[in-house]
Structure formats: structure tokens, C-alpha cells
Amino acid sequence: MAKAISQAERLNDPKYKKSWAFDFKKNWALYIMFVPILVYEVVLHYIPMFGIIMAFEDYNVIDGFFGSPFVGLKHFIELFSGEEFLTALRNTVCIALIKCTLGFFPPIIFAFLLSMLRHKGFKRIVQTFSYLPNFVAAVVVASLVTQFLAKDGPLTLFFTLFGAENQNWLANNNIPVFWIIYLMMGIWQSVGWGSIMYVAAISQVSGDLHEAAAIDGANRLQRLLKITLPNIMPMVIMMLVLNVGLSFSTGFDSILLLYMPSTYNVADTVYTYTYRMAFSAGATNYSLSAASGLFQSVVGTALLIISNSLSRKLSDTSLF
């Protein structure tokens, strides 16, 4: 006969304490709060994944997922045999590389500079102003860039003072003009917002360390390099991992707003190519678009996993 377990004994049982039931009873409010997130993820992220099947079909809306003819890898073969996709792939890789290298450091440098400001009021004002561009809609930013870099735009006129050709820079399809414009636009928009994590990490570095180093004669640069940087390195690596992982989803909306047919050879990315295949006039090839999107997602996921494991090996820091 099974021994009856009293409520008190059950509560003190270490196994029960580790169980899901115990945790739910204790934190039920948190679980309830998690439900909307779960529903959101399932409904908007997991269920739509079924659409991947379009990449392997000659999909049409009326026949739907189940009625459209299955064609295997036809669209992937078409994708890689077409010049446009390969150009878009090259551009995506190049823009991603530039973003992950040249575009990665400005927020860190900005955070360092902010941390060195002594006047707190000024520091706060600078911080606040640096965040503002992040809240400007992509269409507005793209419009500003278009105006500033037009043939008669103020930046273009400024460049001509140094001997540059008077031209609409966004129409220049020479490598790497568009890539640099895109990089600079991204930096302007996100340098402040991107520095938040680093500023927070820097503020966690013990003041005692700085004080001791200063007494030992270390100047500000030395303290920055020998104390601050090593302390925030886990954060830097984590952000780098994230950046690499997300790099393949390089700018969709901004590029869509900035490019034009004559600059597709340098500005078209996998994202914009996918969009164009799906929605452009006369070229509604949903299956090809789905194949392109799937390829992008697979590569993006692979990049995230690889960079995460590299990070774990090199610095004992990883996202998962």
C-alpha cells in the first residue's frame, strides 16, 4: 500500500521543488504573462513556416499549398543560374561584411567617449540626442539621404569642394559607393542606440579598478584599454555574434527605398531580390521568392550557430 504523503512532506521534497508543477504554482503569474508571447510566436512565426513548401512547388494562390504542383529543387536551380540572384548574394555578403567590421565599432567607440565625459548633464543631453535618429522612420532617413546626396544636395556640394564629381551619389553604381553610403546611414541612425548596451556595461566596471590604476600612473587611454575593454569584452562578443547572425538579413527597407534599377548591380540584396520577385509588377514569382527567402534564412541561421559556437570556444561567452 502506497504510503500517503502529507502536503508538508511533498512541499519539502527536493524532487518536487525542481519540478515544473512546483515552479508553475510559485510563478503562475509569470507563466500566464508568457502565454501571449507563446501565442504570438506560434501564430506568427511557426505556423507561417509551413509556407516554406512554396519553394518546392510551382505555387499559385488558387491551388494553394496542397494543390500546386511539386517541382523539387527547380526554383533553387533557377535561383543560382540567374545572374541577378548571384549579384544580390554578392552584395548581401559584402554589405554584411562591411557592417560587421566597419559598422560594428562606432557604437563601442561612442560608448567609450560617453563614459569619459565628466559633466553628467552634458553627457545625458548627448546620449538623448544620439538616440533620436533610431526613432526616425526608415522612409524619412532614406528621404534625407536622397536629398543630401542628390546632385544639388548639401553633402554633394560639400564633396565637390574637395574635387569630387558633382553627381547624384545614390545613382553611382561603382563599387563601393552605395555600400559606404548605406554603412554611413546605418551608423548615423544607430550609433547612439547601439551604444546603450556598452554604456550600461561600462558603468558596471568597478570604479576601484580605475582608481587603483590611476594611482599607479595609468592614463585614460591605458585604463580604457586595460580595464574597461576587457571588462566589457563578453558584451562586445555577444553583440558581435548577434550582428554576424543577423547580418544576412541586411537592410531591407532602407535599400528598397534607396536603390534604383541602374544601381541594382551594387545595391540589390537577397532581401530586396526576394521582395521584387514576389511583388514587382509582372514578376510575381512567389515560388522563386520563397526559395530565395529560404536560402537566406538557412544561411542566416547557420551563421548565427557558427558565430555562437566560435564565440563560446574563443571567449567562453555565447548566446545559447
Binding site: W28, A29, L30, I32, M33, V35, P36, V39, Y40, V43, N60, V61, I62, S81, G82, E83, E84, K151, N168, L170, A171, N173, M260, P261, S262, Y264, N265, R276, A278, F279, S280, A281, G282, A283, T284, N285, Y286
Partner: protein, 588 residues
Amino acid sequence: MKKQLIALTLACLMLVGLLTGCGGGGGSAGDDTTFSWWIYSGANSSFYTEYQENPAVQYTLTKGYGSEDKKVAFEFWAAAPGKEADNYSTMLVSGDLPDIIDEVISDPPPVMVEKGYALDITEYVERNMPNYVALVHSNETYLRNAVVMVDGEEHYYDLKTILDAPEDVFQGFQYRRDWIVKYGTNPQTGAPFTGGYTAENDPDAWTDDVVFPSGGPDPIYISDWEWMFEIFEKAMADLGIDDSYCMSIYYPGFTWSGGLLSCFGGGVNLWYQDENGKVQFGGDQKYFRAYLECMHAWYEKGWLDQDFYQRTSDAFYQIDETAVRQGKVGMFNGEQSKLGGRMDMNDGGFTEGIFVAAAPYPINDIYGDADCQGKAPNCVMGGDLVSGGVLITPKAAEKDLDTLCAYLDQFYAEEGALIKTLGLNADQVAELSDNTFYSDYGMPNGCYFVNDEGKYEKDPILAQDSGGLGTACGFNKAPGLQLVANVDLGLADTYQASLDQWVKYPNTAFFQGSITTNMMTAEDTQTVTEIQSHALEYMTNNAVNFITGAKDITSDDDWGVWCKALAKYNYQKASDIFQPYVDQYPFA
């Protein structure tokens, strides 16, 4: 506990908020005679913001239709300007269809029915549309275009707009003739031209003695155009216009549906039929190369807009509208409303004294070899007797289509056709007393009257309007009979002469959008559409390089790369698909 309850409440609210966004699709109109209607372009915001506010629409909605004398209502869906095609594609792929689709950019009706986007409405048409059926059967051209034969039986897949005579086209090339008069000289005698306005405040009261190098009063050849460009250069230099150009051009460097492209022999840079009825792909032919050579020469000389490839959001008939409206461009593709002196701002600017005349497409006499020269343009707009129409989608299947068809049938009889073509007459305006549109725009007696010749004549305000008032008056989105033959548009001779220039050459080669392609199966349509979209994408991205000089159009190597790239898209397959349709369903 209090915090937990708050958290729980918030979580529930979030969940409810999340789920309310799912499904539903926004609900239906709830009335079997209320129909949603996708139209290609929306209302002209100068007159009203929603197309529902169109007075002609409102008038027709006050009446009852069908055996039960029911009223109908519409919700018009219009895409943002420039996003029509995107909007249309999204609508189809999402399955969120309206009840009625304007078929201006849709697949051919048989394909739309085959794909399930449109209904076979034969029974409704035969039961409720006596005017339409009679009209369609009154003319062989109407019948061939409006009716699809299936197993020997007539089927109606859409409701066509039918013209009782070929209509003037709405746009075409036009040039500043006042600059020719002021800055040009007679090419034969060297004497300055004379001319100008003969009456104040009349934008069409113009006369001059201009003679072109070809010997006539209108430009005929490419050499005439180049002669004009030289004069435009002088004009711009004299007026101090240093930020403009002689001629605008559509951003890819061509318009694949024809026009200037077909002035160099051959046809367009996609598919066309030659004089022997054989389908040709023009993208890699010497005719298109001659066209690009010409454009490159004009670009190099500074005659073409140096930034043309950046104007990607401009419609082909409204390129660099600001510069054109400022009077800074000598030659441009524009609408009827820019002809004559209608763009004169009377502000002392560059439009002061402007007179714009239409130019027919030119005949090439300079570029390419002998095959490319001396040929009349063969892919041009205009001359159609059947144009567009509407499709009824499966979404409307459960609604009262009998009443809808009875409603639409009115536009195939004279009274309804007048409402569609011109707008309301004096009696109808009086009946629509709540709507002040006509009195607001100075037409309390309606849009038209019957003149001494028994023709319907437009109100003088409309005849001289350049701001789209005429379009705002009529219900031109409705399918129906477009009255042309018995309508006196009140146009001046100079204005009519300009319109005639745009239809100087008939379309004999461009078959896309005609009965030829309308009869194609869904599978064939999809195959050629895929090939076309790839080929067109390549050409759109790369033709500009030949024009700007980034690639050398005279280099066989560069041209070879172009041809090789196009061949990869297997255009021959599309040519082979088109050929039997061209043979069986000739459009001309």
C-alpha cells in the same frame, strides 16, 4: 496577490489584443448589393478624395436596378499612385479579393477564370444585360474581343469597355513649338519664323509658319527631332536655363510597349509580329541596337536628361513633371492637358507664352543600317475599339449579381454611356441637388449639351481644362460604351491637329494585351510572363549602361554579352508559344 492580479489582467488583455488581429479579414459589407471594386487609380485629390464622391457615380446610385428595383453601392479600393502593380499583386496573393477588378493590369480574362480569380458571368450577362449583348453582337471586332468561345458556345468572362470609334490617345510626345518659332530659322531659306497667339486667353489660338527640315509643318524624321534639339539648346542658353535638357526619357531607357522603340525598324525589345506575321523577339536585334545607339548619341550631346535613370518613380507620361511644368523641357512625353498654352503660368517664368504641339513618332533616317531606316513606327498606342473592362471575382458569387449586371448594363445604352463618358447633363445635375460639385466648378448645367449638329458637346470649361476636371466628372471607371463618334469635345483645330499626330501611324506589330494574348491559356501565360519578367529585368537594369556610355553600344563584345545574357532566358520558347496565338487570333 494584487500585483499578480494586475499581471494576469494585463496578460489577458495582451492575448485578446493579439487574437483580435487574427482571421476575420475585416468583415464583409453585409449587403448583397454592396460591392467592393478595385480601380487602378484613385480619385484626383484636386476634386475629391474618394472615388465614391464622383458625382456621376453618386447619381447612378440613387436609382434602382433589376427586376426588384434594388439599389447598389460600391466601395472603391484604389492603390497609392505608383504602387498600383504592387497593390494588385498583394491583393491576389493574399486572396483578399474585391468583388470587381479593373482588368487594366490583370492577366487575360480566360486566364483569370481558369486560375479562379474571376467568374464566368455568362448566365448573368445573358439574363440582365440586353444592351451589352446587343452591342457586342453588333460588330465583329467587339464580338471577337468580348466573347470567349468554349466548345462552340459564347461565354462572357468580363465586361468590356467598348468604343464606338477609335479614341484619341491620352498622351504622346510633345514639344515647345513657341521655342521653334522664337529661336529657329527656316531650314530652306534661313529666314526667322513668325507666329504666336491670335487671341488672348485662348490656349489653342496659335498660328505660325514653322517648316521642318523634312519640308512640312510637323516633324517626321529623327533628323527633324535633332534639328529641334539644336534649337532647344539655343533657347535654353538664351533663357539661362542651365539645369534642364532637351528631352526626357523613361527611366529604363525605353518603353517596352512601343513608341519610340519601334521607329528604328523591327518593333519593340520584347515580342512583336513582323510584316509576315512571324513573332520576333526584339531585345537582341539590330533595330534595338540602333535605338540604343541613337539614345546614346543624344545623351552624349546633352540632349537627353542626364539623370533620366534616376527618375524611377515617374510614370512614362509624366517624367520630371516639375521641370516640364516650369517650362524648362523642350520635348517630353505628356498628356493632352499639356498641349497648347495650358501650362502657361502667366508668372513671367519660362512658361510665359508657351505653346506645346504634339509630335508623331519619328521615322529613323540616321542610325543603324538601311534596314533600320525609313520604316514607319509599328508599335504604338491607340486605335482600339475594345479597351479594358472589369472582372467579377468569386468573392461576389454569393451576392446579387443579377442586380449588379443590370446596373452595369445601363452604361451600354446611350444615357448611361454619356454618364460614363462625359458626366451628368443639366437635368441629372438638378436631380442630384445634394451634390454641389457641378456648381462649384462653374457647370450648373452639366458637362455637356446637344449642339446644332446634334452632337454632344462638352461644356467650354471642360474643353479648356488642364487639371483633370473632365475625368473627375464622368464615371470612366465603369465598363460601358465609350462615346467617341457623336461627341464634340469642343476642341480647337490646333488641339485636334496635335491629337491626330499621336495616331498618325497604326499599330500593326504589338500584340500584347490584345485578343491574341487574351486567348492564351493560363499555363502559356505563366510561361511567357516568367520569361518576360526575367528578360525585362535584365534589360531594365542594363540598357541604361549603353545609353550613358558605361558600356559601348558600338562594341560587338559588349553587345555580345547583352545578347548572350538575354538568350539565357530562353526567349525563343516564348516566341514559339506566341506564334500559334498570333496565327489563330490576329489582333489587327
